[in-house]
Symmetry: C2
Subunit: 360 residues, 2 copies
């Protein structure tokens, strides 16, 4: 059997060549005579793997020296707590922009630690657009401004960088990190779960400006204290070694595709191909304002929800998996992260046209 | 090149057949037409993997229905915080037994959340024995009694179960879980990092009596709240899917070795082989009281520390890796977890005899 095109939202598709590489060296990594999975996180071999992955990520994103890069466990949702615990720095409030379900979850968690000023919200409009920044009610006394550059469920993505002035900007970049170049130096902190564009579930990358760490709240679990982890090179506890290794392979693969400029180009073509197919049809539709459609997660509905079951069944038979929309939204969702090739998107579009012709 | 015998303390050796199995199905798991690493944690395929792993673990350890089994991220050190955050249940104190470096770390972290009564400590004696339980100064008002059944660094292991009366017993079983049968029903909570006897780094298993959860401190990060994770089947956030899958393969392997009774027998023979070799020699020594020597981690010293470098170099050349003692203890340490075959221990003992003859 050949592999499917996996449009799942995460854990998501990986480049086949990366899985093959991991497979080929799974029993014995280079001359280590053991598996990466068996290596001490403090040994020379894993040290090389860890350092190499960090260097590649720093190069890909042009991360300044003054930023720490952490490879942690716990997922982005644990960062929903870790961010206020670490970044409030004696202040009692933070700004949050609400553009969808993931921002909402981040807000709910932050409220347990500080006063949250929701400086802009797209909730009333159904989360289909990003509120104009001129209307945001920012608080100059906020410890930081948190936003979600890409909403995995709603399929809404910022096409510009918010201006938070002197207030540190914090971005949950779980679902669009590494999809195109970003100016890291404009951020105070970026975090991202790995299971979409970085690698596999079980790793969370945190990129944080060094001057913001070191004043975590007293009640912060030590392992969530960025300063503790930064001082220990992300090894205050045993690091998620295999996931870290996989991230390194992915970074190498991105390099080979032309880096983030290459990714941006490729992702642009993929997204345009799919949105054009949706917009050219009266059968499919996407509810998101065209100015802020996500290049990573494309939700769409069929003319009638009664056709959803057939669509999914036939798509699966055609080797197209993971298309079911999030339970809260319904319809379909095609996640087309870095690892999804253009051929996969073309196969989906061809299937959609065929399905429409037969049913529409 | 053939694989080495890896005596590292963790991440540690895995059974070769388990790595080969993971390798063979890495690109496509059964009929899923995708890698385990790419599967949605909420999909049917991973659901099967997750459920199967939990069932196997429940059978291996005879875990009663009234206990929840959680597959989490963060490592045992994050549990040092999660345990008091979840189990204090309105109380302000807990009992801790201090038998080595890992208990000490657990104590230091717990002190940030409650009053810690160190009801027994082996610190003054250099952590070479476990204080007689008749002398423990337990506090009847403690929320729980925490101990470390096996100290990975000192090589000290409890050979009996402490009696905590009505106070819930909590064990950090990271380095000896699944090495022999244990009466789970005598515990309130057991936790263990996976990278020794369960699988790979990045997964932490928590087994907790259901009636103890649901009253976490207000400041507990939601992802660390056992109740939140239990209600969501450990999927309140994206689970560490690949590490969970690897754990399932290990549980299956343990089953095939005769379960925990088989493991106990095998581990007993391995430990006796190594301790006998140490005790029969004037060249090697182990400082731990014979009544509480660990069957998992065997620290030993050479007649002179000046020989350490040669020993390690020659051991490596003989295919024996990971023998360097913990930096705080010096000398050597052989970790002989479940996956270390008797042949590995025999190879080590043969090398030790040979080295002694040539040098001693």
């Amino acid at each position: 059997m050949s592999r499917v095109y996996n449009f799942g939202a995460g854990p998501a598709a990986l480049p086949q060549t990366v899985i093959e590489r991991a497979r080929d060296e799974l029993l014995e990594w280079r001359d280590a005579r053991m598996s990466v999975m068996e290596m001490s996180h403090r040994g020379a071999h894993f040290g090389e793997i860890a350092k190499d992955a960090e260097s590649r990520l720093r190069r890909l994103l042009s991360i300044p020296e003054s930023y720490k890069v952490l490879f942690l466990q716990g997922g982005a949702q644990l960062q929903f707590s870790a961010v206020p615990l670490n970044l409030l720095r004696g202040k009692d409030r933070a700004d949050y922009v609400d553009t969808g379900q993931w921002s909402s979850k981040a807000i709910a968690e932050a409220r347990r630690y500080c006063e949250v000023n929701v400086c802009a919200s797209a909730k009333d409009g159904g989360y289909f657009r990003i509120p104009a920044e001129s209307l945001w009610e920012k608080d100059a006394k906020a410890a930081y401004l948190h936003y979600t550059p890409n909403e995995t469920i709603g399929g809404v993505e910022f096409q510009h960088l918010p201006d938070s002035g002197p207030v540190p900007l914090v971005g949950d970049m779980s679902s669009n990190i590494l999809s195109r170049p970003i100016p890291v130096d404009r951020f105070g902190l970026i975090y991202a779960g790995a299971q979409k564009n970085i690698g596999i579930a079980g790793l969370t990358v945190v990129i944080v400006r060094e001057d913001l760490i070191g004043t975590a709240k007293e009640t912060t679990p030590s392992m969530l204290d960025y300063k503790v982890q930064a001082d220990a090179g992300s090894m205050a506890n045993t690091a998620p070694t295999f996931a870290w290794y996989m991230a390194g392979l992915i970074f190498e693969w991105i390099d080979a595709q032309g880096g983030l400029a290459g990714m941006e180009k490729r992702n642009g073509v993929k997204a345009k191909t799919l949105y054009d197919a949706i917009d050219d049809s009266d059968f499919y539709s996407n509810p998101v304002d065209p100015t802020c459609r996500s290049r990573m997660n494309v939700p769409f509905t069929l003319a009638s929800p009664e056709l959803d079951g057939d669509f999914l069944k036939q798509a699966r038979a055609a080797g197209l998996e993971g298309l079911k929309g999030h339970r809260s939204v319904g319809g379909m969702r095609a996640s087309i992260y870095n690892a999804m090739p253009l051929e996969g998107v073309k196969a989906l579009v061809a299937f959609m046209k065929d399905f429409e012709e037969r049913r529409g």
